[in-house]
C-alpha cells in the first residue's frame, strides 16, 4: 500500500475540515436563532421562546399557553357539536394542547348548541389575545377581573410577554372554570370572521351557563 494514497485521502479530509470552518459563518448566518448551531437564547423555556418568536406557534398554542399561565389546573367546558370536534382527531388535538400547554385539569365535552348571546360582549374581560394566521384563528382569553394575576402587560397582545412559560405549576389553589367557544366577532384587520375564546364561566350570562350544564 502506498502511503502517498493515505496522505492524499488525509489531505482530502483536512480540506473538508477547512471547508467546514471557512463556511461556518455563512452557514450560521442563514438560520433563525432557534436553528443556528451555536447561540444562546434568553430563556431555555421552549414554550415561552416559541410564543415570543414564532407566529405559527402562537397561532397553534397561544390560547392554551395563556390559560396555563393565568389559570393552571382549570376545568374547561367545550360544547359539541362544534368546530372543536368535527372529528376525533381535531378533538384530541385540542384536548392535548389544553392539557399540555393549558395545564388543564379536566375537559368536559357537553352536548349543547349554546352560542354567545349578541348582548354579551367579553371584550372588557379579554386580558390576553393573539393574531390568527395559517395555523389557526385569532384567539382571546377573557378572565374574571377578580382573578387577574399580577405581572401582565396592558395590551392584550403583549400581556404574556413578560410572564409566559410552558413550565409553570400544573395546579393552582382554586380550580377555575372556562368555556371554549367560537366568538363570532372578527378581530380588527383579520381575515377570520371569528375568534377562539376561552372565557371564565362566571362571566357568562346565566342562559349560556345553563345551556352548558348539559
Amino acid at each position: 500500500m502506498a502511503p502517498g494514497r493515505t496522505a492524499l485521502v488525509a489531505a482530502l479530509v483536512v480540506g473538508a475540515i477547512v471547508t467546514n470552518v471557512v463556511q461556518w459563518p455563512s452557514v450560521e448566518q442563514m438560520f433563525q436563532p432557534e436553528m443556528e448551531a451555536i447561540g444562546r437564547s434568553n430563556s431555555s423555556d421552549i414554550a415561552a421562546t416559541s410564543y415570543l418568536r414564532c407566529a405559527w406557534c402562537r397561532q397553534r398554542y397561544g390560547l392554551h399557553t395563556a390559560l396555563g399561565v393565568i389559570a393552571p389546573g382549570a376545568r374547561v367546558i367545550i360544547a359539541t357539536p362544534s368546530a372543536y370536534a368535527p372529528d376525533r382527531e381535531t378533538a384530541d388535538e385540542i384536548s392535548s394542547r389544553l392539557r399540555v400547554f393549558g395545564r388543564v385539569d379536566s375537559i368536559v365535552w357537553v352536548r349543547s348548541d349554546v352560542a354567545l348571546e349578541s348582548g354579551f360582549d367579553p371584550t372588557p374581560y379579554v386580558i390576553v389575545s393573539g393574531d390568527g394566521g395559517t395555523k389557526g384563528g385569532p384567539w382571546a382569553l377573557a378572565v374574571d377581573p377578580k382573578a387577574i394575576p399580577p405581572g401582565g402587560g396592558h395590551n392584550p397582545d403583549e400581556y404574556l410577554n413578560e410572564i409566559v412559560t410552558g413550565e409553570g405549576p400544573a395546579r393552582s389553589d382554586t380550580v377555575r372554570e372556562f368555556v371554549l367557544i367560537r366568538w363570532q366577532k372578527a378581530r380588527p384587520h383579520s381575515s377570520y370572521r371569528y375568534q377562539e375564546l376561552l372565557v371564565e364561566t362566571s362571566l357568562l350570562p346565566a342562559s349560556v351557563r345553563n345551556g352548558l350544564s348539559g
Binding site: A16, I17, Q23, E34, A37, S44, D92, E93, R99
Partner: protein, 516 residues
C-alpha cells in the same frame, strides 16, 4: 436541576451497569453505556405505553437503573467479574453533574415547530394521558422516541431535559471513535490511530449541523446513534475478536426498539441496517434470530399500538400503520429462513438484489409520478450542493472523500459490505419515502430529507476512517502473515460470502475467535 440529574444519572448508571455486566471495560463504557441506557429507557417506555401500563417516568427510570444494577449486584455477589473503578465511577458521575448544571444554565436548546409536538407527546406520556388523549396524527407522525426521552422533565414541570440531547450527541461522537479504535487494523500504531481519530472528531465537530444536533430537540441524532450502534456492532461481530461479543450483541438488540420508535420509517431502516448481520454466518444464528424477532416484535407491538389508537377513535386504519404491522409479521415469519444456508452463502447477491430492488421500486414510482422524484432530487441538490440546507459543502465533501477512498482499491475494510450497505441503500430509501409520505421534499433547511441526512453522517464518518485505518497497510510481519492466512481461509470459506469483494488482507486481523 436535581430531578434532571437523577433522570440522566439513572439512564447513565443503568446503561453502564448493563454494558459492564456484559464484559465491556475501558473508556468506551461511558459513552456506550449512556447510549445503552437510552435504549433501555426507550424500550421500557415503549412497553409501558403500548401495553397499557402506567406511563410515569418514575417507573421508566426506576426500571432503567434498577434492573441492570440488581443484575450487577447479583453477579458481584456470585463472584463474577464485575469490578468497577470507584474513582472513575465517582468522577464520571461528577462529570455528569457538571454537564447537567452547565447545560441547564446555558440556554442553548434549538427547536422547530416539530419539537413542540414531540414535547407535547412527552408531557402526555408523563402525565398518563397519552393513550386517552393523543391524536391519531400525533401518534403516527411524532414517534415515541423523543417524547419518551424527555418525559422525565415533566416530573419537575419541565417540558424537556436540557442535558440529555447534548450528552446523547457527545456519546455518539465518542462511540464513533470507540468503534474506529476497535475496528482499525492492528499494528497501525497509536500515534497514527490518534491522528485519524482526531481528524474524525474534527470532521464532525466542524460540521455546522452536527454541532446543531447537540442542542436540537428532535429525533434525528437519536436515530443516527441507533443506526451507528446497530451497524457498527454488527460489523464488529462479523469481524470478531475486537470487543466483548456479548456486549456488542446486546447493544445491537437494545438499539432496535429505539430505532423503530424514533422515526416513522424506523422499521424499514431497521431491515436495511440489520440485513448484513442476518446474512453473516460468522454471527451465531441465535443472535441473528433474536435481532429478527426483536425487529419484528417491536414493529408489531408499536404499529399494533398505533392501530389500537385508530380503532379506539373510530378512525379508519391508514396503510402506513397496517403496512408496518404486516411488515413486522413478515419479519417474524422469516426467522426460519436463517436456517436456510443458501441465503448467507449468497449474501453478496442478496445485498445487491435488495439494493437493486430499492432502485427499481423507485424507478417504477418515478415512472408513475415523475414530479415527486424530480422535485425531491432538485430540492436535495439545492440543499446539499448549493447550501440551502445549511450543510455547506460538508456532505458533498464527505461523500467525495468516501468515493475517492472506495475508488482507490487499496483501501478496504474487512466485511466492508456490512458498513457500506446501509449507506448506499439510504439514497433510494429516502426518495422512496417521499412517495410513501405523499409529498416531494422541499428546498430549505426545514425539509425532512435535509434533516434526515444526519441519520447516516456518523456512520459515514466511521466508514471513511475505518477505510483509512485499515487500508494503510505496512508489509505484513511473518507472525501477522501466519495469523492472517488462518483468518483468510476462514473468511473466504464457502460459508461466508458477505465480503467476497473484500478479502481480508493477511495482516488485517489477529487469530480468529469471533462468533460463528
Amino acid at each position: 436541576m436535581i430531578t434532571e440529574f437523577l433522570a440522566v444519572a439513572a439512564v447513565f448508571i443503568g446503561g453502564c451497569a448493563t454494558m459492564r455486566n456484559l464484559g465491556l471495560i475501558g473508556w468506551g463504557l461511558a459513552p456506550l453505556g449512556f447510549l445503552a441506557g437510552i435504549c433501555l429507557q426507550l424500550g421500557i417506555g415503549l412497553l409501558q405505553v403500548a401495553m397499557a401500563l402506567p406511563t410515569s417516568p418514575v417507573i421508566t427510570l426506576t426500571l432503567t437503573v434498577g434492573l441492570p444494577v440488581a443484575w450487577w449486584i447479583a453477579r458481584w455477589r456470585r463472584g463474577h467479574q464485575a469490578a468497577v473503578s470507584a474513582p472513575l465511577a465517582v468522577a464520571s458521575l461528577a462529570g455528569l453533574a457538571v454537564a447537567v448544571v452547565a447545560l441547564r444554565t446555558e440556554n442553548l436548546a434549538k427547536w422547530h415547530n416539530d419539537s413542540l409536538a414531540y414535547l407535547m407527546a412527552g408531557r402526555l406520556i408523563a402525565e398518563g394521558e397519552y393513550r386517552s388523549t393523543a391524536s391519531t396524527l400525533l401518534v403516527t407522525t411524532r414517534a415515541l422516541g423523543v417524547p419518551l426521552l424527555h418525559a422525565p422533565a415533566n416530573l419537575d414541570n419541565g417540558l424537556y431535559l436540557r442535558s440529555v440531547t447534548p450528552l446523547l450527541t457527545a456519546a455518539t461522537l465518542a462511540s464513533v471513535i470507540w468503534f474506529l479504535m476497535r475496528g482499525a487494523r492492528r499494528g497501525i500504531g497509536n500515534a497514527r490511530l490518534a491522528t485519524f481519530a482526531a481528524l474524525a472528531v474534527l470532521l464532525l465537530l466542524t460540521n455546522n449541523r452536527f454541532i446543531f444536533s447537540f442542542f436540537y430537540l428532535n429525533g434525528h441524532l437519536l436515530f443516527a446513534a441507533m443506526v451507528l450502534l446497530i451497524v457498527a456492532s454488527g460489523w464488529l461481530l462479523v469481524v470478531g475478536d475486537r470487543a466483548p461479543n456479548r456486549a456488542l450483541m446486546v447493544l445491537q438488540i437494545m438499539a432496535i426498539p429505539a430505532l423503530v420508535i424514533t422515526r416513522p420509517e424506523g422499521s424499514i431502516m431497521g431491515l436495511l441496517v440489520l440485513l448484513p448481520t442476518w446474512l453473516s454466518e460468522r454471527i451465531p444464528r441465535r443472535h441473528r434470530s433474536i435481532t429478527m424477532a426483536v425487529l419484528g416484535g417491536t414493529t408489531v407491538l408499536y404499529s399494533g399500538f398505533q392501530g389500537w389508537v385508530f380503532l379506539d377513535r373510530d378512525t379508519e386504519l391508514p396503510p402506513s400503520v397496517s403496512g408496518l404491522f404486516l411488515l413486522g409479521i413478515v419479519v417474524l415469519l422469516s426467522i426460519p429462513v436463517l436456517w436456510w444456508t443458501f441465503v448467507p452463502r449468497h449474501a453478496k447477491q442478496v445485498l445487491w438484489l435488495t439494493e437493486a430492488g430499492l432502485w427499481l421500486a423507485l424507478l417504477a414510482l418515478a415512472l408513475r409520478s415523475p414530479a415527486t422524484l424530480g422535485s425531491s432530487v432538485y430540492a436535495t441538490y439545492v440543499n446539499v450542493f448549493r447550501g440551502a440546507g445549511g450543510w455547506g459543502l460538508s456532505i458533498v465533501a464527505l461523500a467525495a472523500a468516501l468515493l475517492v477512498v472506495c475508488a482507490l482499491r487499496s483501501f478496504r475494510v474487512p466485511y466492508q459490505a456490512a458498513l457500506r450497505f446501509p449507506l448506499t441503500t439510504f439514497v433510494p430509501l429516502v426518495f422512496l419515502l417521499a412517495y410513501l409520505r405523499g409529498g416531494a421534499y422541499r428546498p430549505g433547511d426545514s425539509d425532512s430529507l435535509n434533516r434526515m441526512v444526519m441519520h447516516v453522517v456518523p456512520l459515514a464518518v466511521l466508514l471513511l476512517f475505518l477505510l483509512l485505518t485499515n487500508g494503510d497497510l505496512p508489509s505484513p510481519t511473518p507472525v501477522d502473515d501466519v495469523r492472517g492466512q488462518a483468518r483468510l481461509r476462514e473468511a473466504t470459506s464457502p460459508a461466508e460470502s458477505l465480503d467476497e469483494d473484500v478479502k481480508p488482507t493477511p495482516s488485517l486481523t489477529g487469530p480468529s475467535s469471533g462468533p460463528g
